[in-house]
Symmetry: C2
Subunit: 350 residues, 2 copies
């Protein structure tokens, strides 16, 4: 019997809807396996700005520090996006949370689901069997560097990385590769960027500690192409923050839907679990959002707690939903199920 | 009758092979239409480092300044890529050339060729009819910012943009959109980066001058996904240097091969034309490189000279090669043609 405190940051747009299903499934697991999960709902993102003026209120951050894990829906609102002058933005909350909690490694599994393979924009023979794990650095690089306007009106963003920031996530990626197909691909732009050259240096230094792992290097422009041309070549992909942001969203087409892809953000203490999709404001409240990415993020949380049987149970229930065609509209040309119906089906199945 | 001076920078890897075919086709055009094209071969890239120690010798740059246009093959050599300590790199030559010649707009057309549509890793119904023009800023951003190592051993790359750098390429992109399907998509990461916010500001300011053009904004992570999910939504895509590098290579999968995609880099004076593919060192000297990207780059050069009939003639000859199956190995499962055979077939056909 396990007792865990889980902060839920439902966020904006479809965030609350998908979180509700993630929580529903976690509750079902708790009941079935006799665990006690305590859920603590807190504000972050545009909803937090609206309520408090701050995208990441102190109270939210404090709650996260007290928690064993955080489940996040999505944040972001178009009213801030097209307003370059906005001073406070929902994204600042998420970035500050990642930084404050030290969540330096964002781990995104991407698999081609046999059940949904016809749904991918890619041809079946290209993606069948694709199965990769993307390690995206999450608390460094250009997202977190100095940024602003100079006196002449120009804008700047500074990208920096130090050895420690690279080494800690590289070790995690190598360890993951050891337990998978023993291949690690570092994606960078070392032919142009100094930070990329440091990434290559550090990874080359670390590599001998993992002799079973074959290391490969790819420039980011080439990687963006290879992901589509031949996704099966990738096992573990390691990359810096912004490249990881771009490539992991791109890689979602392999799975057939962004709505299927979970992620774990880990660091030294608390871990956070979130779907890789955004707040998708156009879909808010319509019951069309796919809760599976959030539910699979919850499964990653269970794994993180050491509850492998529980996690497998969730994954099997998700597979069953896919198999039975219990799907939200983006995945079916038949009669779609609502967000809540998909969540309930899976919760019932665990 | 036209007299034009063309500098040829064959470069490294497959560069010389594909350039030879580009030149062959330009010579055929000159003969057929009675123009005089003077070709001046110069060194740039790894070959220039090997010969002179400098990836862009003064002599090369001076020759480019004297020229009406530059035809570039490709540069880059693996012996520099995995050596983070290398002081001189082939890429520095290309970057310096772009900067020195003021080639601020890199224009990359991407089309799904009906003849090759089966060859794309993407399903036919997704890409049929896709036809976009990517405007990549080419002389600013993180490629050209300050970079180096700090005292604590960390590495940095600075990204900067000023209003003028954004406005000049934005005007070109808007003008292109006016003459196409009147849609412009700005790709940025304005929810995180200050430079992106400046891009959005400047584009929003300029937009009213082009009332017929519909402007759309997309975050780069989403754009990387949308390019694959629904490429037909794009007409003109405008973006900064590094995002353009990544997205245009990614977009090549729509055409079915990187070997088909030409580009023009334009500025205030001399213009440069180059295939978007790299030096592909593994293929060097094997006769398997596709010369079509270079030949279509030569066609863009002819258009730039105001020789539309001549350009169309080249494009028709390329279409004919595709139609007749005169294809290099990456595009056919049948008996492939060599680089030279494809080039000769097209040159003969103009
Ligand atoms: C909302 C945004 C700041 C965020 C990011 O780019 O990191 C999102 O796109 C993601 O990938 O988690
Ligand atoms: C060789 C490299 C510097 C170059 C770039 O990234 O600009 C290449 O990838 C390109 O796209 O022309």
């Amino acid at each position: 019997i396990l007792r865990k405190r889980i902060v839920v940051l439902a966020g904006d747009g479809i965030g609350p809807e998908v979180c509700q299903e993630g929580v529903r499934v976690l509750k079902a697991i708790a009941e079935r396996f006799g665990h006690e999960f305590i859920f603590d709902h807190q504000l972050m993102g545009a909803c937090a700005i609206d309520a408090t003026g701050d995208p990441l209120p102190e109270k939210t951050l404090a709650a996260c520090w007290q928690a064993d894990a955080v489940l996040l829906g999505a944040i972001g609102d178009p009213k801030y996006d097209n307003n370059p002058a906005a001073k406070v933005r929902p994204e600042q909350g998420l970035l500050k949370l990642r930084k404050s909690l030290g969540l330096y490694a964002n781990i995104r599994p991407v698999t081609a689901y046999d059940r949904l393979i016809e749904h991918s924009p890619l041809k079946k023979d290209r993606i069948q069997g694709a199965d990769m794990l993307i390690f995206r650095e999450l608390t460094g690089g250009i997202y977190f560097g100095e940024k602003g306007r100079a006196e002449d009106g120009s804008a700047f963003d500074h990208c920096t990385y130090n050895r420690g920031e690279i080494a800690r996530i590289a070790h995690r990626a190598f360890q993951a590769a050891e337990n998978r197909r023993q291949k690690l691909t570092l994606v960078d732009k070392a032919n142009v960027l100094e930070t990329s050259r440091l990434w290559r240096e550090v990874v080359q230094e670390i590599a001998p500690q993992y002799p079973s792992v074959m290391v490969d290097y790819l420039f980011v422009d080439n990687a963006a192409m290879q992901l589509i041309l031949n996704p099966r070549q990738f096992d573990v992909m390691l990359t810096e923050n912004m490249f990881g942001d771009i490539l992991s969203d791109e890689a979602s087409v392999i799975a057939g839907s962004l709505g299927l892809l979970p992620s774990a953000s880990v660091g030294d203490q608390v871990a956070l679990f979130e779907p890789i999709h955004g707040s998708f404001p156009q879909a808010k409240g319509k019951g069309i959002a796919n809760p599976i990415a959030t539910i699979l993020s919850a499964a990653m949380m269970l794994e993180h707690f050491g509850l492998q049987a529980e996690a497998d149970c969730v994954k099997d229930a998700v597979d069953n939903a896919l198999e039975r065609g219990v799907l939200t509209p983006e995945l079916t040309s038949g009669v779609p199920y609502t967000t809540e119906q998909v969540g309930s089906f899976i919760a019932y199945g665990v």
